[in-house]
């Protein structure tokens, strides 16, 4: 049952290429955003570490991959790898600051670090292109075979494939002893050291892992749009990522995917009607889901499924 649902989800994601052929660029963005929300889920949903500045890693990955290609090395996978490594490194370096106190200090520190990075990118136009954005990003074909095309076809499959592979890895990790320990830390951070768990080391590890995921998502955006703007580092990106996670369901990997898909599609459809309308309904949805608990859309779906069977 569970496996069938999972297969259905991924087949539908793949089939959307033929179901919505006009919307390939948008769908490509959905997969990238989904990867970003997945990175947040690992950190916030599983380990219970709060952040308001995850765009820092997304943006760092985007600029790293963008600048690498701009400087003449347009091979996509090496761009992803560089982005993952740099983001993980930034995660390792900043983790002690973020994990220093409780929830509120974590929020302030992550927000502060991401604002600093955004301002640095703004003030270094020689490297980042500043407010004009990073231009001249030229990508080579994926695996030497698939050129990025104007219709977003290669981008669609490339982003979906990376999302799928990193999702499988996340699924493996969250089901492992390490994943159980992370959930234990979220469940009771006072008990864990009394079981012998080096809590700090586990949190640093998941912080770097989550940063790497976000970095890869940013790199995908840079490569598929062949452009990086300061938006990649914006507070709005961090905040919307959290919104999508809450919307989809915290601490469940499919919740992250569902939240990203639902949010992006709803945004696309509703904001064409009226921007105000969009803000209003996302507000209604958030308040409703927050009151309903941490299950989000995924929890709601599971509830309906159980009701249906009973």
């Amino acid at each position: 049952m569970r496996l069938a649902l999972e297969a259905a989800f991924w087949l539908l994601a793949l089939a959307s290429h033929w179901l919505l052929p006009e919307q390939l660029p948008l769908l490509g963005q959905v997969w990238i955003v989904a990867l970003f929300v997945l990175s947040l889920d690992l950190l916030v949903g599983f380990a219970g570490v709060l952040t308001l500045g995850h765009a820092a890693f997304f943006g760092l990955g985007a600029y790293a991959a963008g600048i690498l290609a701009q400087q003449g090395w347009g091979e996509p996978l090496s761009g992803l790898l560089l982005a993952a490594l740099l983001a993980a490194l930034l995660g390792l370096v900043t983790a002690p600051l973020v994990l220093h106190g409780g929830d509120l200090p974590a929020l302030m520190v992550t927000l502060g670090l991401s604002l600093m990075l955004a301002e640095a990118a703004n003030k270094l136009p020689g490297i980042t292109g500043g407010a004009d954005g990073l231009l001249g990003v030229e990508m080579w074909p994926v695996l030497g075979l698939f050129r990025f095309d104007l219709f977003g076809r290669t981008a669609f499959f490339y982003a979906l494939a990376v999302l799928f592979l990193l999702f499988l890895l996340a699924r493996l990790i969250t089901a492992s002893p390490f994943g159980l320990a992370l959930r234990g830390i979220r469940g009771n951070a006072r008990r864990m050291p009394a079981l012998g768990t080096p809590v700090r080391a586990r949190l640093v590890a998941v912080y770097a892992l989550s940063a790497a995921y976000a970095g890869v998502a940013g790199a995908l955006l840079a490569q598929t749009t062949q452009f990086v703007s300061l938006d990649a580092l914006s507070f709005q990106r961090s905040a919307e990522g959290l919104l999508m996670l809450v919307l989809g369901g915290l601490g469940a990997l499919y919740g992250a995917l569902l939240g990203a898909v639902a949010f992006t599609l709803a945004h696309h459809i509703l904001s064409e009607m009226s921007p105000l309308f969009w803000q209003f309904w996302i507000g209604v949805a958030l308040v409703g889901l927050a009151l309903a608990g941490r299950g989000g859309l995924l929890g709601l779906g599971a509830l309906l499924l159980r009701r249906g069977r009973a």
């Binding site: 990790i173 089901a175 234990g184 469940g187 009394a194 586990r202």
Partner: protein, 250 residues
């Protein structure tokens, strides 16, 4: 051989001295109880022993090694386990999951990310066996911890410590708040502790203390008032005065 010892162990909160120069020696396999009125400093003492709190002064020795500077988790790895006076459980986990987590930690496996927990079949089986030995019903093992009756949660609190296979076990009021109908299982679990485990029991229930302990330390206002075998402590007039609230005679 000494399993656990303190020298001049003290802890201040602001200007208030909660633990005041405690010297304690537990031989290997000891059954030692610490009693004392509310606020005497018993839980603070446990927190100092485990490393949850740093002492203002004094040392802690575990099996001959000075562990005063070591973190909580490092002391656990050296064989020191505890239970909490106020449950510290994982509300969303089932008892099997929680005990499995403790066992994985004991085996040093919680940094492993490349195999699912279910692939560590022996560990999961051991978790079930441990819960079974504490007479958890199969349905209770699979229920979310927060849905269990308080007495079962208290027992799980002990199970998590036992799973670590400690050499020294600190029990902070294991039977506190358990309704009489459910307390039996908790008391049995305490009585059935392996003989080679050194146990420090903090308890208000005098029946349990006198049945269990071979030595008793009475704390009052952070300091040791009396220490000795149960019969001696029970006779001591200062204990009656401070602990039982009866005026001393003579």
């Amino acid at each position: 051989m000494t399993a656990l010892a303190t020298e001049g162990l003290s802890r201040d909160f602001g200007g208030f001295r909660a633990v005041a120069g405690i010297d304690l020696v537990l031989a290997q396999g000891a059954r030692h109880a610490v009693i004392g009125p509310n606020g005497a400093g018993k839980t603070t003492l446990v927190n100092l022993l485990t490393g949850a709190l740093r002492p203002t002064a004094g040392r802690v020795r575990l099996g001959g090694e000075d562990v005063t500077a070591l973190s909580q988790h490092a002391r656990v790895k050296r064989g020191l386990a505890r239970t909490f006076q106020i449950n510290q459980l994982f509300p969303e986990f089932t008892p099997v999951q929680a005990v499995t987590l403790a066992l994985l930690e004991r085996e040093g496996l919680t940094a492993r990310w490349w195999r699912p927990v279910s692939a560590h079949g022996a560990v999961v089986a051991e978790a079930r066996a441990l819960l079974d030995s504490l007479r958890f019903a199969p349905a209770e093992m699979r229920a979310a911890t927060r849905s269990l009756p308080y007495g079962r949660q208290r027992l799980l609190e002990i199970a998590l410590a036992l799973a670590l296979r400690p050499r020294v076990l600190l029990l902070d009021e294991p039977a506190a708040g358990v309704p009489p109908g459910e307390s039996r299982a908790v008391l049995d679990a305490v009585a059935a502790l392996p003989r080679d485990v050194t146990v420090l029991l903090i308890e208000h229930d005098m029946d349990l203390v006198f049945r269990f302990a071979e030595r008793i330390t009475v704390l009052a206002q952070g300091a040791v008032l009396v220490e000795g075998p149960p019969a001696e402590v029970a006779r001591d007039p200062r204990v009656r005065e401070v602990y039982l609230g009866e005026p001393a005679h003579g």
